[in-house]
Symmetry: C2
Subunit: 211 residues, 2 copies
């Protein structure tokens, strides 16, 4: 009876299609209203399916939420992983800031979803924080410390430098409403990249020695 178990493992065309529809809609709604603030009906009408149909693909509301969350976490680590110890530190960190700000502009919903999850105690991603994320930060902090030890940048706390980059870049996604209200206008991506890089990295540069 191979056909009995097959459907549970190999997804059909319709399954792939509808699950993608659901997760896209769920990201929008969950990021805008939070977990409790979102109803299954909202997601259903956003993607044009019926509520029982959603619950046919995901048994519980919580399953939809965790599925969306896991899909975003993948994108989250990539830019930091790319930090290369053998390249120029300022250029590498600048590129990292740039990549994070790109995510901010392209997927502000993902950033807000993640922020909301952490804000409320990270009940669904605690293992991710203490495992993969912690390991990655430890590794990349070592890279940064390597640059410092080599005298390429000024010494600061490597971990807190990473936190600082996260904080500032994600601020422009998560607090966009505040930023735009205070500035009276939406900041431009290109300009923001140089401003933020200057703000966070200027202090790391070593002054050219007077000859």
């Amino acid at each position: 009876m191979p056909k009995k178990t097959a459907p549970l493992v190999l997804k059909t065309r319709i399954q792939n299609q509808n699950e993608a529809l659901i997760l896209d809609a769920a990201l929008e709604v969950f990021s805008a209203y939070g977990y409790r603030g979102t109803t299954v009906d909202q997601i259903a009408s956003k993607c044009g399916l019926s509520k029982p149909n959603l619950l046919y693909y995901f048994k519980r509301k919580e399953d939809i939420y965790t599925a969306v969350l896991e899909r975003t976490l993948t994108h989250w680590l990539a830019p930091l992983q790319a930090l290369d110890a053998n390249k120029d530190p300022i250029e590498e960190l600048s590129r990292y800031i740039s990549a994070k700000l790109d995510l901010t502009f392209q997927q502000p919903e993902a950033s807000k979803l993640f922020a909301n999850e952490i804000l409320h105690g990270a009940p669904h991603v605690s293992a991710f924080l203490k495992g993969p994320l912690r390991d990655l930060v430890a590794a990349k902090a070592n890279v940064i410390r390597g640059w410092m030890d080599a005298g390429k940048i000024r010494p600061v706390s490597a971990e807190h430098l990473i936190f600082g980059i996260w904080a500032v870049t994600q601020h422009y996604a998560d607090f966009s409403v505040q930023v735009e209200a205070v500035l009276g206008t939406k900041p431009q991506a290109k300009q923001l990249k140089s401003t933020v890089s200057e703000l966070l990295l200027r202090g790391l540069k070593i002054e050219a020695k007077a000859v």
Copy 2:
């Protein structure tokens, strides 16, 4: 009939006492679970009153929420308002960062409540953002630009410097779960103050000219 209207204006002892109880409890619950994630019953049991009793003091759940929010906004502006154009810029900004981090450690719930509100589009504080907050930022950005024009600190975008300070300091309150998971320990207030000041202000300092 002066007594008829008096109770609506002058609050009784019991009113003051219970409203304070309610708002304290509401801050804890709202910041932990968000607006929709919070039930009136949760707040009621947290402060030892009955649900109908809460709704005797605040007609609707939303009224409790806005009352808590307004109470926290007051504390929010104070440290920035204290920025003094006539004093040393690095010392003033360092003191501001220090004050914000103190708030972070003393009232992380207030920070989280505010963050949650902004994250979800600031439906209750839109007027505050576009009014008082915007005006204050504009005024203090001018103070910072004054320092730059006088050659006391390097030029950067004054508004984004303020955003950067907000982002980093509040990060340690709003994302405390992530910070602690990654570091494996809770950062100490005193150490954090010098680390964050160094990170954000190092790039502003003017190098002493070689003689």
